[in-house]
């Protein structure tokens, strides 16, 4: 549907840009407020601060009762890094078996995997909580990261299976002729070719684990174990609106890593959503 004339085109662009501004205004307002002296946050309405201060960032970073945001960021980064390794390794192994190997009950198991994707977390979380408590894993990251090493996020298995299926089988056959077994085919042929699927898995694991609140709220309780999201919530409860500038400063900082991931890996994210329909 090409547009009739230039005038219409300009109108359309204006409309779309106006939409973008309205949508992103709250985020810009948060950034701008975090840079304003406290007394100006609700009085100075312009997005461009009359006076810029880094105070909120310095005060905010100092955190609550002696633990600084350095600790919280290190905790979040560790959690995310281990989760990524777990998902990439376990999901690609399972995906290779589903996409390329022959075994009994393959269809049944594949169906089972799709079914596990549909079970709401809340149905599983209570027994899991009881189990992790029995294992004495409370207040550690184990309840969050260990399941990732067992391909529990079926979505990534599914995504990788689809990707492997699109690769020509002749590659595996050639490797078999050269005397490669399934393990060498997996490491030498398949893994190098599924890098885009691995990148997609990495990005989404990063974003989801970074933003995740529910499981971190359940399992991480000690002050020194808190992640960035949990620290923000404690910050809100402890300071309320009295330290709004710092609260905004730390909130804004916490979404920066996600923004950066998005900027650098946009293509993978947009394709990931468009082809598989995830969030």
């Amino acid at each position: 549907m090409a547009l009739a004339n230039r005038y219409q085109k300009i109108l359309l662009h204006t409309l779309i840009i106006a939409g973008v501004v309205i949508m992103l205004y709250p985020i810009l307002w948060m950034l701008s407020s975090s840079l304003k002296p406290s007394e100006l946050i609700f009085t100075d309405n312009s997005l461009w601060p009359k006076k810029v201060t880094m105070d909120h960032y310095i005060k905010g970073w100092a955190g609550i009762s002696k633990t600084t945001f350095t600790t919280y960021y290190l905790n979040s980064i560790t959690l995310v890094a281990i989760a990524i390794i777990g998902n990439v390794v376990s999901c690609s192994l399972a995906a290779y078996a589903f996409a390329r190997l022959e075994f009994k009950a393959k269809k049944l198991m594949f169906g089972l995997m799709l079914m596990t994707m549909m079970i709401p977390l809340h149905v599983l979380v209570i027994p899991q909580y009881i189990m992790f408590n029995k294992l004495d894993w409370m207040n550690t990251i184990l309840p969050i990261v260990v399941p990732k090493f067992f391909a529990t996020e079926g979505f990534f298995v599914f995504l990788t299976v689809q990707f492997i299926r699109s690769l020509p089988r002749e590659l595996d056959q050639a490797a078999t002729v050269d005397g490669c077994g399934p393990f060498r085919i997996y490491t030498k042929v398949i893994l190098p070719l599924i890098v885009p699927a691995i990148v997609t898995t990495t990005i989404f694991t990063f974003i989801w684990t970074w933003n995740d609140f529910f499981s971190q709220l359940l399992y991480l309780t000690g002050q020194e174990k808190l992640t960035v999201t949990l620290a923000l919530r404690i910050f809100l409860d402890a300071m309320g609106e009295s330290a709004l500038g710092s609260l905004f400063a730390m909130s804004f900082l916490s979404i920066v890593p996600v923004f950066l991931m998005f900027m650098f890996f946009q293509r993978f994210i947009v394709e990931g959503i468009a082809t598989s329909g995830i969030k």
Binding site: I16, L93, L101, L112, I119, H122, F213
Partner: protein, 314 residues
């Protein structure tokens, strides 16, 4: 007699093991080595928990003692003796069935605007996607408390037009709208899926219909919309499933209480309060199962009704 039976069973077992180990079709045990992590995961983190949770839902269990079998009592209490539970159902249904249609309407509208062959599609698409990227985070929920606060930017803007509004977050009847708008704000991800769908519609359909003299509105009603219905169904189901389970925004915005006056008491928030606040784990398990059933029923209904309005192109 017994020995003979045991011997037969033993031999059968050996034969089965041998068959598993040396199966012709396929690669014997090797596939199971690749699958081992997943298999263990399914068993430990899905299969066993799901049956345990079903069992717990028929018990009274406070996390410290042993579960006490009470039959259907949890389920009966929910619907006959727990006004807060009914309130959480009401709030959640309102949230899902207002926010999702609105979100999808925006997603479709913007996708249609962006799909009209204008430049800068990639940039616009990314900018509109940003809210979906971070909308579920604690940071944005914290921001939302201020945006919809007494002096927040929403009320300041409405003030310019002469509306004097109370704090949305602090007023029952308003608070849930702040949450609904937070969901609608994240229309970027269904929009991307609509855009992908729009690209699949062959352009000769439009060319042929313009030759027949169809106007833009007719083209939309007879080509675009019918061709998009499978995607609309998909988006509707995915968004519905995820919003039934929404937790973080309600938790942060009401500081864990579901207030004011339970007006943002989302289902999962009440489940969390029961299961992990009061450690009523039996009751919380039965709540989880009812949620599972509700999601299942609505997904089934959506598929069932789809025969009537979803156009599959064979």
């Amino acid at each position: 007699m017994l020995h003979k039976a045991q011997a037969i069973l033993y031999l059968k077992g050996v034969r089965m093991m041998r068959r598993v180990l040396t199966r012709r079709r396929g690669e014997g045990l090797i596939p199971y080595l690749f699958l081992a992590p997943w298999l263990i995961g399914v068993l430990a983190f899905s299969a066993i928990p799901i049956f345990t949770s079903l069992y717990l839902s028929f018990t009274n269990y406070n996390f410290i003692g042993t579960p006490n079998w009470i039959g259907l009592r949890n389920y009966l209490t929910m619907f006959t003796d727990d006004p807060q539970y009914l309130q959480s159902l009401k709030v959640t249904f309102m949230y899902v069935f207002v926010a999702v249609p609105l979100e999808l309407a925006f997603a479709l509208g913007l996708a249609l605007l962006l799909n009209r062959g204008i430049g800068g599609l990639g940039t616009y698409r990314s900018l509109y996607y940003i809210p979906s990227l971070i909308g579920g985070s604690v940071a944005i929920a914290i921001l939302w408390r201020q945006v919809f606060g007494a002096e927040g930017i929403v009320n300041q803007t409405l003030g310019v037009f002469g509306f004097d509004m109370p704090s949305w977050i602090g007023t029952p009847g308003y608070a849930v709208w702040a949450l609904i708008l937070l969901k609608v704000w994240q229309f970027g991800s269904p929009m991307i899926i609509f855009l992908a769908g729009l690209k699949q519609i062959p352009s000769d359909f439009y060319e042929a219909s313009s030759l027949d003299g169809a106007g833009r509105w007719k083209q939309f009603a007879h080509i675009t919309l019918p061709m998009l219905t499978p995607i609309l169904l998909f988006n509707a189901i995915m968004q519905m499933i995820s919003s039934f389970q929404a937790f973080t925004p309600a938790y942060i915005i009401s500081e864990g209480t579901g207030g004011p006056v339970n007006s943002t008491l989302f289902y999962t928030l009440y489940l969390y309060q029961n299961g992990f606040g009061n450690f009523q784990m039996g009751y919380a398990s039965s709540m989880a199962w009812v949620l599972f059933i509700i999601i299942g029923v609505f997904t089934w209904l959506a598929f069932k009704a789809s025969d009537r309005w979803v156009h599959y192109d064979n």
